[in-house]
């Protein structure tokens, strides 16, 4: 197990998942007021073990900055982190097209039993985009 060559393969998740779990990108630490966002979206429920919030900052119909919060397992954290990287810089229309499969591909695939329960972030992102659009009306 301590053999350097095989160490990474011994971990339960892929190297990319491990990296996004141990060094998550774009997460919002502490209070929500630490990030000036235009809209927020929410998915999941702590009772089920996973909950995600996406916060987006929008300019000219583009996601110019993004933050997230997650209560959940390692693959939930990694998949939300991956989604934030995928969505940053995209137009709202393009961001709406990001699917669970895209996140899974980006991460080099999660274990099958993790796919449905831990890739939820794109629903939170859609919720945020919808909230942004209805706020604007």
């Amino acid at each position: 197990m301590s053999d350097g060559k095989t160490e990474e393969q011994d971990w339960v998740y892929s190297d990319i998942v491990k990296d996004h779990f141990l060094n998550p990108r774009n997460f919002l630490m502490g209070n929500e007021s630490n990030f000036k966002y235009d809209a927020m979206g929410l998915v999941g429920n702590p009772i089920c073990g996973d909950q995600m919030k996406m916060y987006i900052k929008v300019q000219d119909d583009k996601i110019v900055d993004i933050r997230w919060k997650t209560y959940g397992c390692a693959s939930a954290i990694a998949s939300t982190s991956a989604l934030s990287e995928l969505a940053k810089g995209k137009t709202l229309d393009d961001a709406l097209l990001i699917s669970a499969k895209d996140i899974d591909n980006y991460l080099g695939n999660l274990p099958k039993h993790k796919f449905h329960c831990s890739i939820l972030g794109h629903d939170a992102l859609r919720d945020a985009i919808n909230n942004y659009r209805s706020n604007k009306k």
């Binding site: 997460f27 502490g30 009772i47 073990g49 919060k69 397992c73 939930a76 993790k114």
Partner: protein, 355 residues
Amino acid sequence: MIYLDYAATAPLLPEVLDAMHGAEKELFANASALHTPGHLAKNEIEKCRELLAKIVHAEPEEIIFTSSASEANNTVIRTFEGCQIETSPLEHHSIIETAKIYGGKKLPKLYSYMLANNETGEFLKLPSKKEGEYLHSDLTQVLGKMPIDVKGLGLDYATFSAHKIGGPVGVGALYVKNGAPFKPLIIGGNQEKKRRGSTYNTIGIVGFKAALEYIEKNRTWEKYDHEIRELRDTLAKRILSEIPGSSLNTEIDKDKSLPNILNASFAAAEGESIQLYLDAEGIIVSTGSACAAGDIKPSHVLMAKTGDAEVAHSSIRFSFGPANTMKDVEKVMDVLPGIIAKLQGMSTIKMKDIK
């Protein structure tokens, strides 16, 4: 690596490894055979039977070797197929699931209550059975941690496992009191006095014997009662005082739980994430979170105890063994507060919402 998952599996003792390596070379023969190599193998099996019987205050003929504690548990439940079976809600799945399938309305009635729970370490009160009723207890977590007297406990059946005391995985044992009902689960052989068919697992049983010799010689229950209890209690107190949002799922009073298990929950932080952040720091623990087991529901034990899914999802079990020292506790507390603070900081659950 700091290993704090002894309640899942204890590392093989060096004495066990030596004994099993020796047995691989010398005790390979079929222990049911009448020739000399077979007889030599059978002798070692019988020595293990006698030693386990002595340690738990049973007679050697009351001990049956199995492939696991789960098999021993299944055997007891299947003996009472169609009968009334009452179990505690905290039993292992090998009791609960089996009783659900095979329990019925007939008599006699069987009670199955573990003496100490594997996830929290907490003691259960054994039910008082009436005349004509039978009592089984899964003692998997208790062996080696406390002196055991199956007669004193009033048990008709008891389950043991080798790999929780530094023996190999793949060997369990069932105590069946002389005269108690018994139906073999594996039929088709004269082994174990026709109570369990299949070729004797000599090498595994030799490993079990070496582990039993270790616990008897070292009176490990005394070390657990003093040194290991101190490690567990110190970790419990430091978690409560140094980590916001922490709570204990184990009552650590001396008469409430085994000395080596601590189950704690960390509000707003999820168990699998805590477990894997600790793993990345070389600290090995387990969790009652659903995610970790690839299950949909969190631990039935913590749900039965707390009725709170969030508490169960956020739980970590630390289980100590003979190789742990106070340095291990210090190293855990060097990193755990930071891990919890990071997860709580990124969590959707706000800490100020938590009582």
